[in-house]
Symmetry: C2
Subunit: 366 residues, 2 copies
């Protein structure tokens, strides 16, 4: 496998020194920034994540700040989710769509302060879309990428580790709620969230210079909890059905196709980009949908589109697949046509090493 | 050095099979796509590029197509360069700036057909900016990323190799001009351009399925020219003063600061984003500028911002630096304050391995 070249264009993070000291073995690039992909091995990292607690450098989830009296009104144009539900202690997952209802990003929205919102983005320059749209509309709100870097704590022992560093108050946080907790005198925004199904938190570290202090504090506090450096795990996230923007879902897909219908509010569709297209899809039903898929046989790394066939006809595609040590099957997800998305449907998946038999599953594995 | 992880989110290119067969050793990610960075070694690739001919997979220079009666008028809003100069046989380098004059991208503009333009982009999702802006303006033009992948042929023997595959007509192309030349019956857009100072061409391959046919034809035709797979070379591009967007220049910089003043037309500044800010800078002079810098001593890989000091005061930063085998010095470029940008000014550059003495140069080395 090829190396990744050091390069000023691919940004280091406030935690990169810690990640390197922990022996990172693989990276990808996300929002023009380094994102670790493996420390020991995909399988070893996976087993550890499911049993202990890990600290993840997810600084690449950059924060777009929208600040001003019109901030929430501006953000409401971007998403079919009704933001009337927004409160200071909630995180809202908001699909962001274009004029045709195609996914532009799938960020999490939080209120960082009154009239100040942070949009924690997936891998696309969403800032350019927001600014391009806003620059002609006269909103009273400023948009910028701020120096805030999420650090995730994930795994079954997350509550114990977090309580040692931020106090027992963090245990009371409910899923997708957030609050501020003190660390070295700074009230720090923390949410119960993260890109795994093992439970945990995301800490929004303000100021690059504060990154390694917190990183080191978490490792010092968690030695007996077997804390390790980790990262979003390929196997665990497919088992859990966590979609990756730019991979399982792209601009070619609507939120409904991505199984995100619960974040599309009918009442909001007259007030956002793509509303008309989403209304039509709601009325007519989706033509394809993300589905869990089990693939038989040996499979190579899924680094490209794998076309899906049934009866010799193309009926979809797989973009994520890997061997699951716990479930003893190749777990996968793919966008499958309505004609073939029923549980139990036999399909064929074309990998770069040849065709494999596969079956549409009822649900993900977590 | 860590590996790069295979991942459907980081797209393969039409030439990836060829790149892998040629033994690529390093990658970076550019526009959510793989970009090779090294085959044999930076130095070996560099010497070969300066003496022979290389074929580069630069498919990551994605093509944004703007098509329709209002296409050129829409594009004119994006750039301070006057597009009245646009003709069917010219490539125009167009800085794209935001409302404050900050660089959003530095693409090349070409006319692919009547009322159809291709914007060959650097590493940012410029499509989102253009669409965000255009979606509220009622332009009669469609914007999309099209299935067109540049393949570059670079090095002193480029003309000979290209003439063998596309006919002697390509030899007549002038620098930054373009035309269509036949390959397997398809008229293919070719420009005399590319990200090196060794001369060469860029071929705009239409259709992913046509990529490897052309790749293979170039290698078959160039065996006695010592043709090899190559890529933009870190050493050669710094020697030549070729800036990298996202690295040497970012949104924090104006085109004037980047030494791109010749692409800023005063007559156009009332008609584009950022015009007011650029007018002010033209009147008052720039506060900082990209300058060639020679650094003494041993230096580590430049994978982060290196602050520049003089008399203990911060006066700029370096983002690109490497040892030059031909010039026997560390060649670098940096953004330097007006107070210290004169040729011969002694400065200090702070690398992750410590402070190094350096001097502002008159010109780049090519």
């Amino acid at each position: 496998m090829a190396r990744i070249s050091p390069n000023g264009r691919v940004r280091r993070t406030p935690f990169s020194d810690g990640v390197e000291a922990a022996g990172v073995k693989g990276y990808t690039v996300y929002n023009h920034m380094l994102l670790p992909t493996v420390f020991e091995s995909f399988e070893a990292d996976y087993h550890h994540l499911k049993r202990h607690v890990q600290v993840w450098d997810v600084a690449c989830e950059r924060q777009i700040q929208v600040k001003g009296p019109d901030a929430l009104r501006m953000i409401q144009f971007l998403t079919p989710r009704d933001l009337d539900k927004m409160t200071a202690d909630r995180c809202l997952y908001i699909p962001v769509v274009d004029a045709m209802g195609g996914m532009l990003n799938d960020p999490v929205l939080m209120q960082a302060a009154p009239d100040t919102y942070w949009i924690s983005i997936a891998d696309s320059d969403l800032l350019l879309w927001i600014e391009g749209f806003a620059c002609t509309q006269g909103f009273d709100a400023e948009v910028s990428e701020v120096d805030v870097s999420p650090l995730a704590v994930q795994g079954p022992k997350s509550d114990d580790l977090m309580a040692r560093v931020f106090g027992d108050g963090v245990r009371a946080l409910r899923f997708f709620s957030c609050g501020r907790f003190g660390f070295e005198g700074r009230p720090t925004l923390i949410s119960r969230s993260g890109y795994s199904k093992q439970g945990g938190f995301e800490i929004y570290v303000e100021g690059t210079e504060n990154g390694m202090t917190l990183w080191n504090a978490l490792f010092a506090a968690g030695e007996d909890l077997n804390v390790r450096a980790g990262c979003p795990n390929l196997i665990e996230r497919i088992e859990g059905g966590l979609l990756s923007y730019g991979n399982d879902m792209t601009r070619e897909n609507t939120p409904l196709e991505c199984g995100l219908g619960r974040f599309v509010d009918a009442s909001q569709l007259d007030h956002c980009f793509g509303g008309r297209a989403l209304k039509e899809e709601l009325a007519e039903g989706s033509k394809q949908m993300i589905r869990p898929i089990a693939i038989e046989g040996d499979i190579p790394p899924c680094d490209r589109v794998w076309p899906v066939y049934a009866d010799g006809k193309r009926v979809g595609q797989v973009k994520s697949a890997v061997w699951s040590p716990d479930h003893k099957i190749n777990v996968a997800m793919g966008m499958i046509a309505r004609t073939h998305w029923d549980t139990g449907t036999a399909i064929e998946v074309e990998t770069q090493d040849g065709m494999r038999s596969a079956t549409v599953q009822e649900k993900f594995w977590r």
